[in-house]
């Protein structure tokens, strides 16, 4: 079947961006990509709807973004996604498809997904944030993109259908043939991370879209690694969007994953890890201070009761709050201008004291030591 760019936009790119059924039928090679880049989508209805959906997503992240266009970066990300889903398609198990061809497809898709990141030395933070927001608008469904699988069992056997409905003939005479259907949903990322050919594509996508990576720290795979992401947290627009996302989802949802990544970052041997550790620690404190500002006036006891309730449900959160108390001692717990407002300073002190009580003195000292080593404050660490 010939590749039709308009049809591809309608059946693949639009649902990737706006939700719906993502139909996987083609593979995008060099010829198809060239065709896409040369096609003028100006009046195409699907392109307009894609732009509208991407703009709605970007509007939540940055101030007054321009309407994203289907430029080369967007098309490459979409093509990479297409090829990723093609690799996971059960039809690639056909005898005509060799392993070598699949490896070639994987390599090409990885190359498509590998985009140059904005240069923070050249681009200003607003431009960089808009670029990241545009990329995220293409990939924001990456972690919830799923596939409905069906297993049909009948009297003489069973068959599985991945992302497709079983033919009606298999479901006929259900009583006589003892037909039984089982349905479940698998996530594309989970499936791809188990496939050696698909995994590099997902990794490349996340590397090209740090916002997508930062927004889902609590995923199982791939592991949330702070080292390549921390430079983006220095951009005010990105930091604001990430904080908004995490606070909207609820700090307990992301705190465990972030704490694990932060502790791993403290133990990194890379030269840039110390600076990254300082930024990541300050950002963790920043997010907690934002949450604190929303409930100002609470006493130390109120904070402690609330934190104990959260920790009781998720014991892994204890270190997250303990890191805030430790950051006060390391000097990364609050911006200096907090002291300008005595009431805010008292609120922060009360919250920090509650965090310290929550973890206990012994664990707090351990965290202070780990944090001080991680950020390079060797005097305090000793």
């Amino acid at each position: 079947m010939a590749f039709d760019p308009a049809q591809w936009l309608h059946h693949f790119v639009l649902p990737i961006v706006a939700g719906g059924d993502v139909r996987v039928q083609h593979v995008v090679g060099a010829r198809e990509l060239k065709l896409l880049l040369e096609t003028e989508f100006g009046r195409d209805e699907s392109a307009l709807r894609i732009a509208e959906a991407r703009h709605a997503i970007a509007s939540e992240l940055v101030l007054t973004p321009p309407e994203p266009s289907l430029d080369e970066e967007a098309l490459r990300l979409a093509a990479a996604m297409q090829n990723l889903l093609f690799l996971l398609h059960p039809g690639t198990n056909a005898p005509s498809v060799t392993r070598r061809r699949l490896r070639s497809l994987s390599t090409y898709a990885t190359a498509l997904a590998t985009l140059p990141l904005p240069d923070l030395d050249i681009d200003d933070s607003r431009t960089a944030a808009r670029v990241l927001a545009d990329r995220h608008s293409m990939l924001h469904h990456l972690f919830d993109l799923g596939r409905d699988d069906v297993r049909v069992s009948f009297w003489v056997g069973k068959r599985e259908f991945h992302g497709a409905e079983p033919p009606s003939r298999l479901l006929k005479w259900p009583d006589l043939r003892r037909v039984r259907e089982e349905r479940w949903r698998v996530t594309v990322v989970g499936e791809a991370m188990a496939d050696p050919l698909a995994k590099p594509i997902v990794t490349a996508m996340l590397a090209s879209s740090p916002l997508t990576d930062l927004f889902e720290p609590s995923r199982l795979e791939p592991r949330f690694d702070l080292l390549p992401l921390v430079p983006w947290l220095k951009l005010p627009e990105v930091a604001r969007a990430v904080a908004d996302r995490w606070l909207g989802a609820g700090l307990p949802q992301v705190a465990g994953a972030y704490t694990a990544a932060l502790l791993a970052l403290y133990n990194e041997k890379e030269p840039q890890a110390r600076a990254a550790s300082r930024t990541a620690t300050a950002f963790a404190s920043h997010v907690q201070l934002l949450a604190l500002v929303a409930k100002r006036g609470a006493t130390e006891r109120d904070h402690l009761i609330e934190l104990q309730g959260q920790v009781q449900a998720q014991p892994g959160l204890r270190d997250f709050y303990g890191l805030f108390a430790a950051a006060q001692r390391v000097g990364l717990g609050r911006p200096a201008d907090v002291a300008a407002d005595p009431r805010l300073r008292d609120d922060v002190d009360a919250y920090a004291t509650a965090c310290a009580q929550l973890v206990g003195t012994e664990r707090l000292l351990e965290l202070v030591g780990v944090m001080a080593r991680g950020v390079g404050n060797l005097q305090l660490a000793s």
Binding site: V24, G29, A56, A111, L247, V293
Partner: protein, 510 residues
């Protein structure tokens, strides 16, 4: 002399005693010996307070007895139904210096104590003639009966004791009280009660022929007995001070005791002493007991109050026609308020300033924005924050004059009407907010027109005020994306060719 009883001992020298289930030596009767009447009364007083006298009363006998040395003492005999009862009686008697015995007929041996937990037996019986013989560890003595004292006499002859403090302090519960008033005061008392709307029932009590001196209200004259409900405290204090008027409180179904006095015995536990068909009035002031032969025939006090009636008192009734009252309309005005300003809970941001609002929305933390709601109307963006909108210092500020009714900051309605009246006046605020802009007609904004204020709500707002209100987009729908695998055919990768220039070739030096 006495000897302690051993466990499982079955033979005793004292007749009429045997071990009970616990092994305690017990006769059919218990006996208590008191040296004076004070101690006797004290015993009954404590016993009444602790438990009902019905346990002792069935076969209770109080004898005044005389010793061989001619001293007089009181011997109380009662049915020893269980050793628990005798234990209790012995404990109370010991408090008052009395001695406890058990036995039957005329021989009574000392009841058990801590020295001998199972009781005592006499080594030999007393042989001298006597009505009662008591065997104690320090003496064995015979007693002659002088006379019998009825328990009812004890109840009726004992004078009520005055309680310290005012009568009102004695009474916590004034639900039902009784008032006794001499005949001359009866009309005045009834009129006073009726005038003060105190519910009361009254009966006149005449002295019976068989009534004796002290039991006939002093001089044997008739008197008013009145049952009152919820007597106010001031009237209670007043009646307590009026000579000839006594206030009683009920202590049983047919027994009343004067307020401010207490009978030495706990009368409710001596209910069997009082005849159900009679009514007993214990007066502390007169130190007397009035016994009514029958319960007083009470009638409502209001029926006893009355004057003469005359059929010619007034003319025939006049007929009138009702109609609806004339409607008085008062126009509500908004005037500058002299009172302190209330908290700003809403603001109207004109379209010309919508861009500033949008920038503020991006600057404010989302958690603060979560409490704000916005409605786009032709006049501008109306933002409501029920906890206050301190974060948005632009637009025309509004305060709540009444729930869901907003007036400009520093303004109030004239005339000042209550919140409920105001709500009725504007036709209710169910499902809507009513806004009184400065110098304009009031606006009604449906609750459905509001949505949470956030970046999402303002992302697509145009600056042009004339068209933005109708184009506010709904919140972004989060539709899940689902992969649907189509048929790839027999040659899925037919024609696929990667762009080799994009593929980074592996560096052999790595």
């Amino acid at each position: 002399m006495l000897e302690p009883v051993a466990l499982n001992q079955t033979r005793f020298n004292v007749p009429g005693v045997a071990p009970d289930n616990r092994g305690v030596v017990l006769g059919k009767q218990g006996a208590l010996l008191f040296a004076s009447v004070d101690r006797l009364v004290g015993f009954f007083r404590i016993f009444c307070d602790e438990s009902s006298m019905d346990e002792l009363l069935p076969k209770l006998k109080i004898h005044q007895v005389r010793t061989p040395l001619m001293s007089r003492e009181f011997l109380v005999l009662y049915a020893a139904s269980t050793s628990y009862l005798v234990d209790r009686a012995a404990r109370i008697a010991a408090l008052l210096g009395g001695l406890a015995f058990t036995g039957s007929g005329k021989h009574f041996v000392k009841y058990r104590d801590t020295t001998s937990p199972l009781g005592y037996d006499a080594t030999s019986l007393y042989g001298e003639p006597a009505d009662f013989v008591l065997y104690s560890d320090t003496f064995t003595q015979g007693y002659q009966r002088v006379k019998d004292v009825e328990f009812a006499q004890l109840v009726f002859r004992l004078s009520p004791r005055r309680l310290p403090g005012t009568p009102a302090e004695d009474l916590q519960d004034r639900e039902v009280l009784w008032i006794g008033a001499r005949t001359g005061l009866a009309r005045s008392v009834l009129t006073y009660l009726w005038r003060n709307r105190v519910r009361a029932e009254a009966a006149f009590v005449e002295p019976a022929d068989t009534a004796q001196g002290a039991g006939s209200f002093g001089q044997g004259t008739s008197f008013l007995l009145c049952r009152v409900h919820e007597l106010p405290e001031r009237m209670l204090a007043l009646f307590a001070e009026v000579p000839g008027v006594e206030v009683f409180r009920p202590v049983g179904e047919n027994v009343v005791v004067q307020v401010g006095y207490r009978h030495p015995l706990h009368l409710p536990s001596c209910a069997s002493v009082f005849d159900k068909e009679r009514f007993y009035v214990f007066s502390g002031t007169r130190d007397a007991v009035d016994v009514l032969k029958a319960p007083p025939p009470l009638v409502p006090a209001s029926d006893l109050i009355g004057g003469g009636f005359d059929l010619g008192e007034r003319s025939d009734p006049l007929e009138h026609t009702p109609r609806e009252p004339d409607k008085l309309e008062v126009q509500l005005k908004l005037v500058a308020s002299a009172t302190a300003r209330r908290r700003v809970t809403a603001t109207m941001v004109p379209w010309a300033h919508a861009d500033r609002l949008r920038q503020l929305v991006y600057a404010l933390p989302p958690t603060m924005l979560a409490t704000y709601r916005v409605a786009a109307i032709a006049e501008g963006l109306f933002v409501i924050g029920e906890q206050g909108i301190d974060g948005i210092p632009i637009g025309d500020m509004f305060q709540e004059a009444a729930p869901s009714i907003y007036v400009p900051l520093g303004m109030e309605f004239y005339p000042r009407v209550g919140a409920e009246v105001l709500t009725d006046h504007i036709g209710g605020v169910n499902g809507r907010y009513v806004v009184f802009p400065r110098g304009g007609r009031p606006l009604a904004l449906e609750h459905a027109a509001f949505e949470p204020l956030g970046r999402r709500a303002l992302a697509r707002l145009e600056v042009d005020p004339r068209t933005r209100d109708v184009r506010m987009p709904p919140p972004r729908a989060t539709t899940p994306a689902t992969v649907v695998n189509e048929d790839l055919g027999t040659l899925p990768l037919w024609g696929f060719a990667p762009d080799t220039s994009m593929i980074k070739k592996p560096d052999p030096t790595e």
